[in-house]
Amino acid sequence: MTRGDVLAIGLAAMLVGVSYARHWKPPVTATRFEVRVAGQVVGRYPLAIDRELMIDGALGLSKLKVENGRVRFAASPCRNKVCVHSGWLSHGGEAAACLPNRVSITLAGDAGSGVDAVSF
């Protein structure tokens, strides 16, 4: 390795560092979420207020829990509990759904949702 190499690699590492400083953002933190039943929006709630919500779905009541800026399905009348296993959601663009009960929640941040996928 020559001194020129050290210089070049140092500059390259600096460039990478600058790119992190300028473009690296943590995933957008969501500020509110939307609840839908059978595709219809039944309510929009802020994530800032801790509470429990009971949403009446096709099978019965789905319990949503809002805590520390996060939201999750706490209980559901469905069989597989996929919604409950989705766990806590806190980033814009995240979503969880209980298909049997036809209840879904979608999170949104102030900065809009992040990228789902990039393909080229």
């Binding site: 020129g4 070049a8 390259a12 460039l15 790119s19 992190y20 953002k25 990039v118 080229f120």
Partner: protein, 189 residues
């Protein structure tokens, strides 16, 4: 051409041989799955580097451009987005190599070894590719968030391919200076 200097023929064979080698590496590499689009080791660049160091920038240019063209034909991405990304990446990386060699010539005290050249060309490759991806194909600000990890990968893979090129160069015999000695890759009938 009859009027061409005798070295032209030998150069053609060199280009053909090294390009073939680079194309094989390119195609094999294209078969590997990648966790993030745009990230791959770029092992074919080892060939470009070796040609650059042992012969000339002009030959390295030919080898790289032929590799991109024929590689895309074989992989089936000719004129598809991936091809343009590859071409612009190769163009930027060759420009970096040209600048790097010019730098080494003008400032011998700080000359670059294949390692430094490889890092510069890898970053230029990624930057060129990204500029096209962002400017032409996906002008979404979300794409910029991919830039830091992509550049990190480019830096690491640039170091890796540069190291590989250096290791190979150490084991290669000196460049034959006369026309009668043919490179091993062009020996087949």
């Amino acid at each position: 051409m009859a009027a061409a200097p005798p070295t032209a023929d030998r150069e053609d064979r060199l280009v053909a041989g090294f390009a073939a080698l680079a194309i094989v590496i390119h195609v094999i590499e294209a078969g590997f799955p990648s966790p993030v689009p745009g990230v791959k080791p770029g092992l074919a660049n080892v060939v470009t580097l070796i040609v650059l160091v042992r012969y000339s920038l002009r030959l390295a240019l030919w080898v790289a451009l032929l590799r991109v063209l024929v590689g895309s034909l074989l992989v089936g991405s000719f004129l598809a987005p991936g091809f343009w990304l590859s071409l612009c990446g190769a163009g930027a990386s060759l420009a970096a190599l040209a600048l790097g060699t010019a730098w080494s010539r003008t400032v011998p005290a700080l000359r670059l070894s294949p390692l430094g050249l490889s890092v510069l060309s890898a970053l230029a490759h990624m930057a060129g590719q990204f500029a096209v991806a962002y400017g032409v194909f996906v002008p979404h600000p979300g794409l910029l968030r991919l830039l830091p990890p992509l550049l990190t990968a480019a830096l690491l893979f640039g170091l890796a391919t540069g190291g590989a090129a250096q290791a190979i160069l150490r084991h290669l015999p000196p460049v034959p200076s006369d026309d009668t000695v043919r490179p091993p890759t062009a020996r087949a009938p």
